[in-house]
């Protein structure tokens, strides 16, 4: 009833091509921004901020990165975590080695470093496709983590290869409390998500989708494959790199290369599959789902079974349910949570008079 677009007329191209063409969406978006930007940090407790909301935001950003590459440009990658590692270690080294390096600049540079590495590992995509490419991206995953452990320069000669993120200071203000860190993360992620949303709606995004749908055809009608694919790798790695830097600076604090392992890459891939391939919104939904599900199961399953079954049983059962739910979701809605969201919106548009 409230969600009606009747009476909203588009009088110019600019109006027609805005991100939220429907007024209610626009309002909804700003309400969401206000809730998550202001209300949440004021109301949520430390546990939610530190252990759930900040990681969800950071993983959403990484998922957006992977979604650009896999969802929009159609290049399957299993190495996202490695690019996060590049970002984290690059940010650490930029701040450590350049006196007075502002945090935000370091963040951008970390992203750029990851993008350069991404281009390097994206080169094979010009020849290789599908699962061959996916397995080939594992080369990036293993090589990057190996290099970060192996060469002590990356971790400033720390005896164990572990680095501790410096304080986050912007214009003299140090982001120390969870609330401050959350707001910083939120602003960066929101900005980059909007940027991504605009990018995929632009000619760049359309080029990616053309390559995804059929690269030979795209080439025939004049898209330059090399430029398009490598740009996708670069942008995707940039996003992952920034996510990695945030992971180190606003979330974990002290990071080791092995933390960015294959499991994390898979988790990010899950996020986009569950959330919705080729959807920015889906990246957020997917990240929230994958972060929250194991925590929910960890609380919920012992509640049902109690202590009767032994801790080993409960842990394994959680794993089975986690895997099972993923399969279930893939079967029920292969297009992910974003698709459900869309269906809900369609329904809402007609409600309460569907005919």
């Amino acid at each position: 009833m409230l969600y009606r677009e009747a009476g909203q007329f588009k009088a110019s191209y600019a109006e027609d091509s805005q991100i939220f063409p429907i007024r209610q969406d626009k309002i909804g978006f700003w309400v969401l921004m206000l809730v998550f930007g202001l209300a949440v940090p004021l109301l949520a407790n430390q546990y939610w901020l530190k252990a759930i909301l900040i990681p969800v935001l950071i993983f959403s950003l990484a998922a957006i990165g992977l979604n650009i590459l896999t969802g929009y440009a159609g290049q399957l990658s299993l190495g996202s975590a490695a690019f996060m590692a590049v970002g984290a270690f690059a940010a650490y080294n930029f701040i450590l080695r350049i006196e007075g390096m502002p945090f935000l600049v370091a963040l951008v540079l970390a992203g750029v470093t990851a993008a350069l590495v991404g281009i390097l590992f994206g080169l094979p995509s010009l020849r290789i496709k599908g699962f061959y490419l996916a397995v080939a991206t594992l080369a990036a995953q293993f090589f990057i983590v190996w290099a970060l452990v192996k060469f002590p320069w990356f971790s400033n000669n720390s005896s164990s290869g572990v680095v501790t993120a410096q304080d986050v200071t912007i214009l003299g203000y140090t982001f120390a409390t969870p609330e401050a860190k959350y707001i910083l993360t939120f602003l960066i992620v929101a900005f980059m998500a909007l940027l991504a949303k605009n990018m995929v709606r632009s000619s760049t995004g359309r080029a990616w989708m053309a390559v995804r749908d059929m690269d030979v055809a795209a080439q025939v009608i004049g898209f330059r494959l090399m430029r398009t694919k490598l740009l996708a790798f670069a942008v995707s790695s940039f996003y992952c790199g920034v996510a990695g830097a945030l992971y180190a600076y606003t979330y974990i604090g002290t990071v080791e290369p092995e933390g960015f392992n294959l499991d994390l890459s898979f988790k990010i891939l899950f996020m986009i599959i569950i959330g919705g391939v080729g959807s920015i919104m889906g990246s957020f939904l997917g990240a929230a789902f994958i972060v929250l599900l194991p925590i929910f199961l960890d609380n919920f399953i012992p509640m049902i079974f109690g202590d009767a079954l032994g801790a080993g049983f409960v842990s394994n059962f959680q794993l089975i349910v986690f895997g099972g739910l993923i399969i279930f979701f893939l079967i029920v809605e292969p297009h992910g949570l974003a698709r459900l969201w869309q269906i809900a919106k369609e329904k809402l548009r007609l409600w309460p008079f569907p005919h």
Binding site: Y132, F143, P334
Partner: protein, 308 residues
């Protein structure tokens, strides 16, 4: 020179072990186009089920522990378990997902990985177990004494098993009705369906055969390193073999395994020391990657021509 030969032979034999795991991937990919990431978990599940039955059977049936009867009975039961697992997978996971994009199927098999891992440890516990196949992992004395080249008896045994397995699979594919149907399905699903080949039955057979391969691979790897969760990591050793050999080729898996095994060992020994060692984790992937740049569909993969 003698050291070089030793490294080379050791590498080739390790490659056979990788190929054993890779075979399972190839079978399923060939028949159903599913890149089954759960193959590693299946190796673990199969080996753990085998060892688990070996432990409990003597108590249940009053048989002598470690006897041949127990061994073969446990083998049979583990194989049945793999058939059940394959059938269940086909029914519950693959059938509803038919016609979905490859990536969705791939993700489903990662979900399946968690289920299988959890199931294995829930049923049999988290304990690490040894597995003794009765073949000692020691160098052959004659070669050692005369040429100072260490070649393990066990590795040769594993190579023998792999060879017989491939021979068996070849016979199955070439000379049985099911095998012919399998090849038809692998060639063209639609065409196979249209001449009345029951696709779902074929898929179940393929998963059962892949389960059998997983069981054999699990027993060999388990005898070598113990039956434990880490058996799932064998999948990571098999992936570069796959892309090198091609996803769809059984001989490709074997040849790819040999190439990967030999070159990774040679690289670790001769290049490793200059960069600090431990390069075996990524070197095979890089090698396969470099190789793919020249042949994007792998050594024996089917050449795919894109048409607009």
């Amino acid at each position: 020179m003698q050291f070089f030969i030793e490294v080379l032979v050791g590498g080739l034999l390790s490659g056979v072990m990788y190929a054993l795991v890779a075979l399972g991937f190839v079978l399923i990919y060939k028949a159903s186009g599913v890149f089954n990431f759960a193959q590693g978990a299946m190796v673990f599940f199969a080996a753990l089920t085998f060892v688990g039955f070996q432990e409990v059977l003597p108590g249940w049936l009053g048989l002598e522990a470690g006897s041949g009867v127990v061994f073969w009975l446990a083998f049979l039961l583990a194989f049945i378990a793999m058939i059940l697992l394959g059938t269940a997978t086909e029914r519950i996971v693959l059938r509803p997902l038919v016609n979905q994009p490859h990536i969705t199927l791939f993700m489903a098999t990662i979900g399946l990985t968690y289920v299988v891992e959890g199931l294995a440890q829930m049923t049999w516990g988290a304990n690490v177990r040894g597995l003794d196949l009765g073949i000692v992992d020691e160098p052959i004395a004659w070669l050692m004494d005369n040429y100072e080249i260490g070649v393990s008896k066990f590795d040769l045994f594993a190579a023998g098993v792999a060879a017989s397995l491939v021979a068996l699979l070849a016979l199955l594919f070439q000379y049985t009705k099911v095998g012919r149907a399998l090849r038809a399905v692998a060639d063209d699903h639609q065409a196979a369906l249209s001449i009345g080949i029951p696709l779902q039955t074929i898929w179940r057979v393929v998963w059962a055969v892949a389960g059998f391969v997983a069981l054999v691979a699990g027993m060999i790897w388990g005898a070598r390193n113990g039956v434990q969760f880490a058996l799932t990591f064998t999948a990571l050793k098999a992936l570069p073999v796959l892309i090198l050999g091609g996803f769809t080729s059984v001989p490709g898996a074997i040849v790819g395994g040999l190439i990967i095994g030999a070159s990774e060992k040679l690289a670790e020994v001769y290049v490793g020391p200059f960069v600090g060692g431990g390069i075996e984790g990524w070197f095979p992937y890089m090698l396969a990657l470099a190789f793919l740049l020249f042949r994007p569909e792998g050594l024996f993969g089917e050449k795919h021509i894109d048409r607009v």
